[in-house]
Amino acid sequence: MPKLSEAMETGKVIQWLKREGDAVKGGDLILEVETDKANVEIEAFGSGVLRKIVVPEGGQVPVGTVVGIIADPAEDISGVAIEPPPAPAAAPAPASGPAAPAPAAVPAMETYRSAPATAAVVPMTPEPARVAAAAAPAPAPPRAPAPAGDAAPAGGRIRVSPLARKIAAQAGVDLRLVHGSGPGGRIIRRDVEAAQAAPAAGVAATAAAPALGIARPEAEYEDVPLTAMRAAIAKRMPLSKAPVPHFYVTSEVAMDAAWRLRGELNALEGGVKISVTDMIIRACAVALGRHPSINASFQGATMRLHHRAHIGLAVALDAGLITPVLRDCDVKPLSRIAAEARDLAERARAGKLRVPELSGATFSISNLGMFDVEEFSAIINPPEGAILAVGSVLEKPVVVDGQLAVGRRMKLTISCDHRVTDGAAGARFLQDVKRLLEEPLRLLV
């Protein structure tokens, strides 16, 4: 099970695209995997025959686990150390009677199966050894496979310092309600003390008699298990918001010229359809080249200034969001940006993104314009240094040469990491983006 994203800890085999006995070449798509962020098709790392499918469809295993074996047809694969595949994640069985049988606990001894065996197993011709997806080091000791339907895979454990835990216990503070300000969201003493000091949560509203004849569920509320994507977002966002000091700069852009230009371009026969987002991507790509501190990542002792503009595009999905990366926007013309952005967004919605398309952004854009949002602020996706939040293009009264007129206006808000850049730099970048959009012919040259 290859590690397909920074945050990925386990992956689920959705579908095998090859059967046992099928010949495979390096680069062939052999299986489809569901990660915390997307469904991803996995390519074979080497050639041979798919000799054995170790993890069946539906199986969820930790990163690094052998999911299958590709080897020469004649090769003896009996020595391949295979961790016992955990029981397939029993689907959140709708009405399947009693709970699915608990997966047999892996005997402790199994953990110590010799790792080198894996490495030595498949000397393949003529390339170096490879077990499907097993370039990974020795498989992580199998944790007891997560029981099916077990929510909150990683976010469940509360990180809290021993002292904070003790104080919370003494004071009767519910740690689940305390925001942790330490590294990785660790709850430390001051957080518990702050929670203690905070006024008790608003007195429960007096149970108002239902005034309207609206049917409501009996229960006050329900706890819905997190989907893998929700859990990943929940885990990742505090990693940005807490340690990254955000600041925000907003500017309004006159979109009349851009709107007209877009209309003209889209009227051209055979041309690619251009969206407002595409124009913003192009404007940002050009502006990023002029404002290196916006296209930068905080690295602790250094700042990394990126010499490419790889732009992440936040795509809303029903279950959350995903941010595919449009690479090298600084050297791509608007038409190509438009074509590629559309392709990425479509495949993102279809869950068909490839691994490399999900990482490596140096800057991101989040557009909620289609939701009639005037303006909003976005959370930076580390290690990027900034993200641009795009509102709707709205018709509104504007003053032109002293006269009231109707104009198209759009608000842009940039969130910047104050560790790499400052307010004035953010404002200058935004000014540049604004000028590019207000004189949009610049986007075409």
Binding site: S161, P162, L163, A164, R165, K166, S181, G182, P183, I188, R189, R190
Partner: protein
């Protein structure tokens, strides 16, 4: 009280103990006529004569063995290592004879010996002469290990070491010999082994350090005071037996710990203290114990690299800020 150097305080301790007890004698390379490579034994040959201030060949294993034999026979030798790095040549004598004799003879022979000399990083003494040698010795049951940070401690702890009935490893520092401080002139003044001292009171974090690192940590603490971080500094003084009680009671007050040591961190004093703190004060910790240690590498000769390898004030400051979530 008189103000004197660390070197003079050691000399005073030796002189007082030699006057007090005729069984005490000094042995080592250049301790007599040359009055010590670092002049710690200045004037002793003149006062006590060649019977009690013995110059030896360059043969650490040999003269350490002589010292152990003399101790078994009832004398109280003080063996000088010109630098403690040379004690490696006498390791078998120290580890297998001095440390274990009392146990293996069923209590028939104790070995009241002090082995002393400078150790730890100094100024461009390079890989072989800059080692924090205490790590080699505090691992051995049967040895006591002392690292005195101030002139007063140098005097008080050396006197206690000489009076102790067990072998004591007493490691000084080239960089501290000229440090001045107040020292009691009272010949009965001693500091018991195994007693840490709180050198600076604070409320936010306990920093544990000794020798040169204590001075560096003190500077960091003074600066952090301006940022509103109140640092408590604990100097263990004796590394074995370790006074964990003083450390733990400080941790219970501050809830955060930084351990500083000049030597490499792997299985070092910081590891030991971190383990003790976790065992005895886990529920009092608001942050993981942070260690600031020398880099895991031989000491480079080049000055700039030497500074890079040893814990700097900046690294100590950063560690303190980290555990204070500042």
């Amino acid at each position: 009280m008189a103000v004197m150097t660390y070197r003079e305080a050691l000399n005073m301790a030796l002189r007082e103990e030699m006057r007090r007890d005729p069984k005490v004698f000094v042995i080592g390379e250049e301790v007599g006529l040359y009055e010590g490579a670092y002049k710690v034994t200045q004037g002793l040959l003149k006062e006590f004569g060649a019977q009690r201030v013995v110059d030896t060949p360059i043969a650490e294993s040999g003269f350490t063995g002589v010292g152990i034999g003399a101790a078994m026979a009832g004398l109280r030798p003080v063996v000088e290592m010109m630098t403690f790095n040379f004690a490696l040549l006498a390791l078998d004598q120290i580890v297998n004879s001095a440390a274990k004799m009392y146990y293996m003879s069923g209590g028939q022979f104790n070995v009241p010996i002090v082995i002393r000399g400078p150790g730890g990083p100094a100024a461009q003494l390079a890989a072989q002469h800059s080692q924090s040698m205490e790590t080699y010795f505090y691992h051995v049951p049967g040895l006591k290990v002392v690292r005195p940070t101030t002139p007063m401690d140098a005097k008080g702890l050396l006197k206690s070491s000489i009076r102790d009935d067990n072998p004591v490893i007493f490691i000084e520092s080239e960089t501290l010999y000229n440090v001045k401080g107040e020292v009691p002139e009272d010949p009965d003044f001693t500091i018991p082994l195994g007693q840490a001292i709180v050198r600076r009171e604070g409320t936010d974090v306990t920093v544990i350090a000794y020798m040169g690192m204590m001075y560096r940590a003190m500077e960091a603490a003074e600066e952090l005071e301006k940022e509103g971080i109140s640092v408590e500094l604990v100097d263990p003084r004796t590394l074995r037996p370790m006074d964990t009680e003083t450390i733990i009671s400080s941790v219970r007050k501050t809830h955060r710990v930084v351990v500083v040591e000049a030597g490499a961190g792997f299985a070092g004093m910081g590891s030991e203290i971190a383990a003790s703190v976790t065992e005895q004060a886990f529920d009092d910790l608001d942050a993981p114990v942070e260690r600031v240690t020398g880099a895991n590498a031989p000491m480079p000769y080049a000055r700039n690299l030497e500074l890079l390898k040893t814990p700097s004030k900046a690294k100590i400051t950063a560690a303190i800020q980290k555990v204070c979530y500042a």
